[in-house]
């Protein structure tokens, strides 16, 4: 790992780890970094269970340390509200239908010289 990893690189690495985590849990990643006028959805994934298909819209926040607080603390109410709007836009554009949708958040801490730590919180907003 380069000593001077840029913010963007940290973010991408965090999202990679988050995708791996979602797939490990049996979800299928449909799209990453979908952008529109309103903003960006980090990960869109699908989870099929007994009740049918669930679309999971996931926000990933990655930080290289805890000195500015846990990454999850940076996910605010406004961000969650935007994410819900984005979810609706995404579904309209892709003409997708699902029996339920869910908004998740994943916080990744990429401290130097340490194993990355992931916190996955389901159904946050």
């Amino acid at each position: 790992m380069a000593a001077t990893e840029s913010k963007k690189q940290i973010g991408v690495r965090g999202e990679d780890l988050a995708c791996a985590e979602l797939e490990r849990q049996g979800m299928q990643v449909l799209e990453r970094n979908w952008r529109c006028r309103l903003g960006e959805i980090d990960i869109v994934a699908a989870e099929s269970g007994a009740a049918g298909l669930t679309l999971v819209f996931c926000e990933v926040k990655c930080r290289s340390g805890l000195s500015f607080g846990h990454p999850l603390e940076a996910i605010t109410y406004t961000k969650m509200r935007t994410l819900r709007q984005l979810a609706a836009l995404w579904m309209r554009e892709h003409r997708m239908k699902a029996s339920s949708i869910r908004v998740d958040a994943i916080g990744v801490v990429l401290a130097p010289e340490q194993e990355p730590s992931l916190t996955h919180v389901r159904a946050v907003g």
Partner: protein
């Protein structure tokens, strides 16, 4: 995921109610929710506790933390819940066993560095905890002495969150320098003792003070400026006997609630409160939006309330004294709760006869018009005047008298001894009635259970002439009993009644002096 609870106390007036502080660590984005009708000081506890915990080597949970203060319908105010919140949060995280907090009430405000700061109302809160069956209170170290005044409950003083954790884990306590609080209010009881001998002359007024002290009667001083009205009023508390244990506890609890530092001992001397005439109604009777604070009348409970320059007070302030003067307590109604404070104070009013202060003074040159003089006198309303037992006029001293009087002034100690004797007689007579002094006894009890003095014709006459109200009759009877108690008589006679009547009406100051000096 995990939850735990701790206990604190909500004070409504002097009455404390146990509050359960629950902390729940649940799934969700990191956020802290504080519910249970907190006021803004309590709402900010979230941020204080968070910083305090992080600075004490512990962690604030990174998930959805819900803190509930129950009963949820009772409005809660103040910062003393901080440490209970901290304890519940740490217990929910398993830092120490939640069972450690059972049967304990924790009180205190935390600083951002994790040290505990003193809060008001520790004494009444400890009383409430004991009453509710709790066996231990944990309070800021500096206030452990105050909590220890309550017998029958284990008191533990801690200086910081680190000490709390060590204590509840049963580990050795780390050394922490307790918080120094600047500008803390010292209790009024730690005050000066003024001597009656300092007041030159005014023998008659001094005697009125003695009677008032003996029977806890209300007084009105009127006279020109500079004759010693204020000096005498300040010396009345010095004539009163020490408070009894029960009263001392009640008085101390009120003072603790008002934010005075009790300095680890009960207030045993009768308190003295002398608010300035610019005082607001709320500062006199007590008030506050959510958490009512006791006012000057409650701080003078079992002691003396002195209103100097009484006509200068706002009329609403004086009129607000009417009910507490009769009932000995004040109930403050707010939209969400009623707070009740004791207020059995002894009132002393001082007034000048007119704005220039010289009206009706021999040798004085008053420049006020009759209408102005009348208006000034009317500022102390009829109902308030009717509740005054002793009307004491002051005359300026003559030069020759000043010299003589300087030599043979009685000291407070001598007078206080006579007052104590008179109080003993009253206590023996009123044993089992629930009252301690003549000033408090109800009119019914006075007329039905105690022998009526001789020579009641004089009183009847005064009533016939419309100079004495029904309440006035009781006041005169009470006064005559006190005069008899001071004279060492078992039942007041015609003389005592005549003195009492004259003192009540305050018409002929000279006559009273002669009669009093007689026996």
């Amino acid at each position: 995921m995990a939850s735990a609870c701790s206990w604190s106390v909500a004070l409504v007036g002097l009455e404390g109610r146990i509050v359960e502080v629950e902390a729940d660590i649940g799934a969700g984005l990191p956020r802290t929710v504080l519910v249970g009708l907190p006021d803004s000081a309590l709402y900010q506890a979230r941020d204080r506790c968070k910083a305090a915990i992080s600075n004490s080597g512990q962690e604030w949970p990174i998930s959805l933390l819900t803190i509930n203060l129950s009963p949820a319908t009772l409005p809660k105010a103040g910062s003393h819940y901080d440490i209970a919140i901290v304890a519940a949060v740490l217990a929910a995280q398993g830092i120490f066993g939640a069972e450690q907090l059972r049967r304990s009430v924790v009180l205190g405000e935390v600083g951002l560095d994790g040290r505990l700061r003193p809060v008001r109302g520790v004494l009444p809160a400890t009383l409430a905890a004991r009453q509710a069956g709790f066996t231990r209170v944990i309070v800021p170290l500096r206030q452990a002495g105050e909590a220890q005044l309550v017998a029958g409950i284990e008191v533990f003083g801690i200086a910081s969150i680190t000490q709390l954790v060590a204590f509840l884990r049963g580990e050795p306590m780390p050394l922490v320098e307790p918080v120094e609080v600047m500008g803390e209010q010292a209790g009024q009881h730690a005050g000066r003792r003024l001597d009656l001998a300092d007041v030159v002359g005014q023998v008659e007024a001094k005697w009125a003070c003695e009677v008032a002290a003996a029977g806890r009667h209300h007084m009105l001083f009127h006279g020109p400026p500079g004759v010693g009205k204020t000096m005498l009023a300040e010396r009345v508390p010095g004539l009163l006997p020490d408070l009894e244990v029960h009263d001392a506890l009640e008085v101390s609890a009120v003072h603790s609630l008002a934010g005075f530092n009790l300095a680890d001992e009960l207030i045993t001397r009768p308190p003295y409160s002398d608010p300035h005439h610019s005082a607001s109604v709320a500062s006199i009777v007590g008030g506050g939006q959510r958490m009512a604070k006791p006012g000057a009348i409650s701080c003078a409970h079992k002691g003396v309330l002195f209103l100097d320059e009484a006509p200068e007070f706002q009329p609403a302030v004086l009129e607000a004294l009417r009910t507490p003067l009769e009932s000995g307590m004040i109930t403050l109604g707010r939209s969400e709760l009623h707070a009740r404070f004791p207020a059995r104070f002894q009132l002393i009013l001082a007034a000048n006869p007119c704005p220039c202060g010289q009206a009706a003074t021999p040798g004085g040159h008053c420049h006020c018009t009759p209408m102005v003089v009348r208006r000034y006198a009317e500022k102390i309303s009829g109902p308030i005047r009717d509740r005054i037992d002793i009307n004491q006029g002051f005359l300026p001293l003559r030069k020759a008298y000043l010299k003589v009087a300087r030599q043979r002034a009685e000291s407070s100690a001598v007078v206080a001894e006579r007052v104590l004797e008179a109080r003993d007689r009253q206590r023996r007579r009123l044993a089992g009635s629930g009252w301690q002094t003549n000033g408090e006894v109800s009119g019914t009890y006075l007329r039905r259970h105690l022998p009526l003095p001789d020579g009641l014709q004089a009183v009847d006459e005064a009533v016939d002439r419309g100079r004495l109200s029904a309440r006035g009759v009781d006041k005169v009877l009470r006064l005559s009993w006190t005069v008899a108690d001071l004279a060492g008589r078992d039942v007041p006679g015609g003389d005592e009644l005549a003195i009492a009547l004259a003192m009540r009406r305050g018409e002929q100051p000279g006559a009273v002096r002669q009669e009093a000096a007689g026996p």
